[in-house]
């Protein structure tokens, strides 16, 4: 496997930029729930709301990296809970394939995560986001913009 094309972690001061694609019904509601609990979490994840994770074209993920994202996280409904019956399964399938493609581009698998978060799982949302930010922080910037 090709090593990742990234500068080594610069340590101090690196704030990763991460795009979060969240489905409207479960994950976005879970994020709102974390807000209602007022549980702090790192502000590095910028949420793009879609109605269903099934809408997420793998090209959106590629575009996010191209535009400077250091990581992408896709959050959808738990299996069987999809508001649109099965969009989350489609998204999961696409993610599996995409990760294989990303590896060929030299982008570490950990920079593109897929997780299930339900509307009630505010606490889980916070822990998933926190761990994603820490993972990407440890990996360092995807490219050297300096």
């Amino acid at each position: 496997m090709m090593p990742e094309i990234a500068i080594p972690p610069s340590g101090e001061g690196f704030e990763p930029k991460i795009i979060g694609f969240l489905c409207n019904w479960c994950a976005y509601a879970g994020a709102d729930k974390a807000g209602t609990f007022q549980t702090p979490y790192p502000p590095n994840v910028y949420v793009i709301r879609v109605m269903c994770t099934g809408r997420i074209d793998p090209q959106f993920v590629m575009r996010a990296y191209e535009l400077g994202a250091d990581g992408v996280i896709i959050l959808g409904c738990h299996p069987g809970d999809c508001h649109y019956k099965e969009g989350n399964y489609r998204a999961l399938q696409r993610h599996r394939l995409l990760v294989r493609l990303l590896k060929q581009f030299g982008i570490a698998e950990d920079r593109c995560r897929f997780e299930f978060v339900s509307a009630s799982e505010g606490t889980r949302f916070v822990s998933v986001i926190t761990s994603m930010v820490e993972t990407v922080r440890a990996l360092g910037p995807l490219r050297n913009n300096q």
């Binding site: 702090p40 910028y46 879609v50 109605m51 074209d57 793998p58 575009r63 649109y84």
Partner: protein, 654 residues
């Protein structure tokens, strides 16, 4: 293009961590032709009025509202935009409360995050096009499939409210299963007496003119959507005119041929022209062409000759016909079936005399049944002992893991009826679990427990019970949950089979594009919140087609289905269809049909003439799965277009 950004401070909820002044600074230089207005408590009446008047004064081309979650107030602000004369879909909300201010303690970082999100929203909203909700005239008529308690209740409730209803019933008789029961648990009311007033209303009452009853009919195709379905119905011939027949029954005794009567579970015979059982409604005999010798080439006219009304009442030349009905909504109330006890050969059903299913036993107990209510099987003495085996095929992980919900009620009803008809008869209940919840239902359990001739034995697995033939009578050998072995010589063994999906459920579900669940029952939209709705808009579920249920629940669900329809399908009202749907560019579609395969709503059809896929905007729910799947990239997800999402990404990551 002028973009108005409206910032809600939400008291101090937002402004404590994000300052509008600093936001504006951070937006300068990034976006041209943008203004920012702060409005406190924008969702309040004053806030909405301030927003509306500001929108009128500033007349922005696009609007960004930085406030709470769009899950809270997107519809609120869309309405404000509409009343201010701005297309409501030219607005993007940015969630700076739940997803920024409340979770980011450091004001500098909160403001920076908010600014990025707003830049993303501004970038995408510029690309949005005005969208309009589609308006449709609703068709207020309703189709009810199935004429059991649930279907009849739905039909009558709708007719009472002035709706025209077509009821389609597969069998020649109305009332479903309960009209075949002598008594109904737990109050021991006579089954036909309980339903007759409702049936009378439906057939001859004040609102009967609005109810079209079609017995011996089946739905064969459904196309369309909520508010506008077209149902095709196959009407099989009855050979007897429902309009002309007076129900005198003169044609029945003269008929020279008989066949097994399926309405009495094969326990007696009926004529080729007959009523299923005395008192069956509508009171019009039907002719069974498989039995009638005229259909085998013989020139029999016996029934026709006996009819005192006239020659035209019985018409052997009647043919099946296809009819169509335009309806706005459909109620599925086809009921359920019973588990086939022959699949458990150790229980002896169909093999050993005296072994009956609960439905067979209901007919034995019924005064209009094969024994006229006499608790005695042909060629046998009155019984001294009856074994009732509960949970046959239910609560069984290898068969049906659910409880069938109604068996305990009727099993204890049997106990009571046996004790009333033949006092002193021994009754053995063999059960896995006893379940009789409800304020009235428990009384029947207490009564059964108080019967001094009744015994209760709990077994663990249906394989622990074996019914064998002991000199012409069934013997029940069993092992209880403690491991003790027992044996019971019975005259009658009653099996309580699991309530299972109707044989026609899968076909009907496929016809209507609704779903069945893992058991094969109709799947509800939500099993707690919306058990009366199917997964397709405008198709409602009532009764045991959705889950095993008793008459009380079936009736309530029938009324609930009518309620859904009366609130969602109001005559004269328009149907509004959200514009956030997919649309296919027919010019560029290659006709590969990948989109149709991934659509969870069958909203995409294939136009064979033009060789392109087409989205039905009313059926489309806007998930966007097809948009992402289209290999040619020619499907546009309205509001969530590729361009808008990529612009938002660019704005956020700038």
């Amino acid at each position: 293009m002028k973009v108005g950004i409206y910032f809600c401070s939400c008291g101090t909820s937002i402004s404590e961590r994000i300052s509008s002044a600093r936001l504006m600074e951070s937006l300068h230089g990034h976006t041209e032709a943008v203004y920012l207005e702060a409005i406190d408590f924008m969702c309040s009446e004053e806030g909405k009025a301030a927003l509306e008047s500001n929108l009128r004064d500033n007349a922005p081309d696009r609007v960004v509202i930085a406030a709470c979650s769009p899950r809270d107030h997107e519809p609120t602000f869309r309405r404000v935009l509409a009343s201010a004369g701005v297309n409501p879909y030219l607005m993007q909300m940015v969630n700076i409360r739940e997803q920024v201010a409340w979770v980011t303690p450091d004001p500098a970082r909160a403001t920076e995050k908010a600014a990025r999100l707003i830049r993303g929203a501004v970038a995408r909203i510029r690309l949005h096009q005005p969208l309009d909700r589609q308006e449709l005239d609703v068709c207020p008529e309703v189709l009810v499939v199935g004429a059991g308690p649930a279907g009849l209740k739905a039909a009558f409730t709708l007719a009472e409210a002035g709706r025209r209803v077509t009821v389609v019933e597969k069998s020649p008789v109305l009332g479903g299963l309960p009209v075949r029961f002598e008594e109904i648990a737990p109050t021991m009311e006579c089954g036909s007496c309980m339903l007759e007033p409702l049936l009378g209303e439906i057939l001859h009452g004040e609102h009967s003119g609005r109810i079209e009853i079609r017995t011996l009919a089946e739905v064969v195709d459904v196309v369309g959507f909520h508010g506008r379905f077209t149902a095709r119905i196959r009407q099989s011939p009855r050979y007897v005119s429902s309009e002309l027949c007076v129900g005198c029954g003169e044609c029945i005794p003269v008929c020279p041929v008989s066949a097994t009567n399926e309405f009495n579970c094969g326990l007696n015979e009926r004529k080729a022209i007959d009523v299923p059982f005395p008192g069956a409604l509508p009171n019009v005999p039907s002719l069974d062409a498989h039995t009638c010798i005229r259909f085998r080439g013989e020139d029999c006219q016996a029934c026709k000759a006996a009819c005192p009304v006239g020659e035209s009442v019985i018409d052997h030349a009647q043919a099946a016909q296809m009819i169509e009905r335009e309806v706005g909504a459909i109620v599925v109330a086809i009921g359920a079936s019973l588990y086939d006890c022959r699949k458990l050969p150790d229980l002896g059903y169909g093999r050993i005399g005296g072994v009956l299913t609960a439905l067979d036993f209901e007919r034995i107990l019924a005064s209009n049944g094969p024994t006229a209510g006499l608790l005695q099987l042909a060629g046998h003495e009155s019984p001294d002992a009856v074994a009732i085996i509960h949970c046959v095929g239910s609560l069984d992980v290898r068969r049906n893991d659910y409880c069938s919900a109604v068996c305990c009620q009727y099993a204890f009803k049997f106990n009571h009826m046996i004790e009333t008809k033949l006092p002193g008869t021994k009754v053995l209940h063999l059960y896995k679990e006893i379940a009789v919840p409800g304020k009235h239902e428990s009384s029947i359990l207490h009564r059964a427990r108080a019967n001094p001739n009744a015994a209760f034995v709990r077994y663990g697995d249906i394989q622990d019970i074996r019914v064998s033939d002991s000199a012409g009578n069934p013997n029940v050998a069993y092992r209880d949950t403690t491991g003790s072995l027992g044996s019971f010589d019975a005259d009658i063994v009653v099996l309580c089979p699991a309530v299972v999906p109707s044989d026609s459920a899968a076909n009907l579900a496929a016809t209507m594009d609704t779903n069945c669940d893992r058991f094969g029952f109709f799947e509800e939209l939500h099993d707690r919140l919306d058990a009366g709705r199917s997964t397709v808009r405008g198709i409602y579920l009532a009764g045991a087609c959705q889950s095993p249920m008793d008459i009380q629940h079936a009736m309530s669900q029938g009324a609930a289905a009518a309620g859904y329809i009366l609130s969602g399908l109001v005559e004269g009202k328009k149907l509004y269809v959200e514009p956030i749907t997919a649309s296919i560019d027919a010019e560029r579609c290659s006709g590969c049909r990948v989109c149709g395969k991934v659509c969870p709503y069958k909203a995409i059809s294939f136009d064979a003439d033009k060789e392109v896929s087409v989205v039905n905007a009313v059926l489309c729910q806007g998930c966007g799965t097809c948009v992402a799947a289209c290999p040619a990239g020619v499907i546009e997800g309205q509001f969530f277009t590729d361009r808008a999402i990529c612009a938002e990404l660019a704005g956020v990551l700038e």
